[in-house]
């Protein structure tokens, strides 16, 4: 039997294409602990691992966690979740929690860019994702940095030292690599190349923001918030400051949003005097999938 007075602990887990992130929240909406790991081979494993990390960090046991909300592309891969929400909704909720004035959010992730337009209540109004092309995602920077022998964390500080960034003209992230080689051969400094890549990426990102109908204020979420040079580049393009989630929650923004939504749900359940359901992880719709139906007489050409 749960009561209003009971201590609540909500975990939000964001299983991204590159990193898996988690935030542990209590009923006062205070962040108790956070954890980040590379998603790697098995997202499910990474999720379980960050969950353990965050429990350890908070010094509590699994059973003390009231509710688990997952998000990110691996949101369905977590058996111990109570519910799953998409990262767009999570980013929207989290950002508008920090900055009610924000109307446009940019999330530059490892494998996609998302531009989200939200209303005053933090509801998603419109959004755009980049197409399935690496040119214009975090991967693009990581490839370039890998090539220049830099770690992801180096990218920002490094690029900030650029004096005259080169133009990266290739549409393709792969061809961009040989462009980088040529620039290096041409004696261009790595700083300037890195910055060039960042500017190129920034341009694409702002384009995407405009395509959702850019409205001030703007915020940046996702791992790219760790990249000071990118933040500067974006602000330059926008000609306006970007709001960044406080207390290093930038990359954790999705997880934080999931936790917030989880908490809301729990509060409603309690208010309605209902019990908190068991993890719904395995439950899935049992509608007939005609798309996966193989007609006996069907002959597939080609």
């Amino acid at each position: 039997m749960t009561t209003q007075t009971q201590r609540l602990l909500i975990a939000g887990i964001d299983i991204g294409s590159t990193y898996t992130k988690t935030v542990l929240l209590d009923q006062t909406r205070t962040v108790r602990a956070t954890a980040i790991r590379r998603s790697g081979y098995k997202p499910a494993v990474a999720a379980a691992a960050v969950f353990d990390d965050v429990l350890a960090a908070a010094g509590i046991g699994k059973d003390e966690v009231t509710y688990v909300a997952t998000t990110g592309y691996g949101r369905y891969m977590v058996p111990f979740r109570h519910t799953q929400i998409t990262e767009l909704t999570c980013h929207a909720v989290a950002t508008s929690y920090h900055f009610p004035s924000v109307r446009t959010i940019l999330d530059i992730g490892g494998q996609d860019i998302k531009a989200i337009r939200i209303d005053e209540r933090g509801r998603v109004r419109a959004f755009r994702l980049n197409d399935k092309c690496a040119a214009g995602t975090g991967a693009f920077l990581e490839k370039t940095s890998r090539y220049l022998g830099l770690t992801t964390a180096d990218i920002g500080p490094y690029a900030l030292r650029a004096t005259q960034p080169v133009e990266i003209s290739s549409v393709c992230a792969v061809f961009a690599e040989s462009e980088v080689i040529n620039h290096l051969a041409g004696g261009v400094t790595p700083e300037n190349i890195m910055q060039g890549a960042i500017v190129a990426l920034g341009g694409r990102a702002v384009q995407l923001m405009k395509r959702v109908g850019l409205e001030a204020d703007c915020a940046l979420a996702g791992g790219m918030t760790n990249n000071a040079a990118m933040v500067a580049a974006l602000e330059g393009r926008l000609g306006a400051p970007l709001k960044l989630p406080p207390d290093g929650l930038g990359q954790l923004n999705g997880a934080f949003g999931a936790a917030l939504l989880g908490l809301r749900r729990v509060e409603r359940l309690l208010a309605e005097g209902r019990a908190i359901p068991a993890p719904s992880g395995e439950a899935s719709a049992t509608v007939r999938r005609w798309s996966s139906y193989i007609a006996p007489t069907a002959t597939v050409a080609g």
Binding site: A44, K132, A134, K143, S170, V174, A185
Partner: protein
């Protein structure tokens, strides 16, 4: 004795071949293109010459080809990979009418006429999907050397359908499939298949006519050879020197020039 060289500076690897008067390969070299194309060209040229136990000044004429052909400072002439691969392929397989060259960053299909002349060609556009890089990504994701990708893929029993065309994302799709519990060989087979079909359509663009010769670095990949033969449903000529075909073609053009009395212009400069 007259010696000539062909240097093929590709996007990922630089190849050089030295031929003697009778067009026998007396030296060859293969280097990864690291930072600087010009130096890569210099180095691979030097290695090939050394491999032939010659001195750079013995080389009467040098033709440069490949993505970085204009960066070969010491070359006497530039010819496109298209002509060079065609020339090399018809030299090794005189009945060649179609050439498929899958390289590190671009893929070319070449149609060849009755007298070995290029009549038509097609190349991949501004997207690196379906090129050798795709395999590079696989090799990175699976931590398997390029040379072992093919053999491994051949072990596949239930090939996986690869949906991304993006070379960059291929890496994570592979990881995804592995995470879902697919066997590496099956995933690899899927990769190979997606490249094979892309390349096949390029071949059809110039019109498939036997015999078909498969050149470029990827021709060293047994699985790709097998798959292409299935998809194109025709046997492929494969040369042990397939990776060098561009360089060989270039060297043959160099030999033409040298025989017709041309001599390299800046010998002493290079000797320095």
């Amino acid at each position: 004795m007259l010696y000539v060289a062909g240097v093929d500076v590709g996007s990922t690897q630089a190849k050089a071949v030295v031929l003697d008067e009778a067009a026998n390969a007396v030296g060859q070299a293969l280097l990864d293109v690291e930072m600087n194309m010009s130096t890569a060209a210099q180095d691979v040229f030097a290695c090939a010459v050394a491999d032939a136990r010659l001195d750079e000044s013995d080389i009467a004429y040098t033709v440069a080809t490949g993505y970085g052909r204009y960066r070969v400072t010491f070359g006497d002439m530039q010819v496109t990979e298209i002509s060079c691969h065609a020339r090399g392929a018809t030299f090794e397989f005189p009945n060649t009418r179609t050439v498929l060259d899958i390289g590190g960053q671009d893929t070319k299909a070449i149609r060849i006429g009755g007298s070995g002349e290029v009549v038509d060609f097609a190349m991949n556009d501004k997207c690196a999907a379906g090129t050798g890089r795709f395999l590079g990504a696989a090799s990175f994701a699976l931590e398997t050397p390029l040379s072992e990708l093919g053999p491994l893929a051949l072990k596949a029993t239930a090939p996986v359908k690869i949906t991304t065309t993006c070379t960059v994302f291929a890496e994570s799709e592979i990881i995804g499939h592995l995470a879902k519990g697919h066997r590496p060989e099956d995933v690899l087979a899927g990769m190979h298949h997606s490249i094979a079909t892309r390349c096949a359509s390029l071949v059809r663009r110039v019109g498939l006519a036997p015999e078909v010769t498969f050149t470029g670095g990827v021709s060293r990949n047994a699985a790709m050879v097998k798959l292409l033969q299935e998809v194109l449903d025709t046997p492929l000529n494969i040369s042990a020197r397939g990776h060098f075909m561009g360089a060989i073609g270039a060297a043959l053009y160099a030999l033409d020039r040298a025989r017709s009395g041309e001599r390299r212009v800046n010998r002493e400069e290079v000797a320095r």
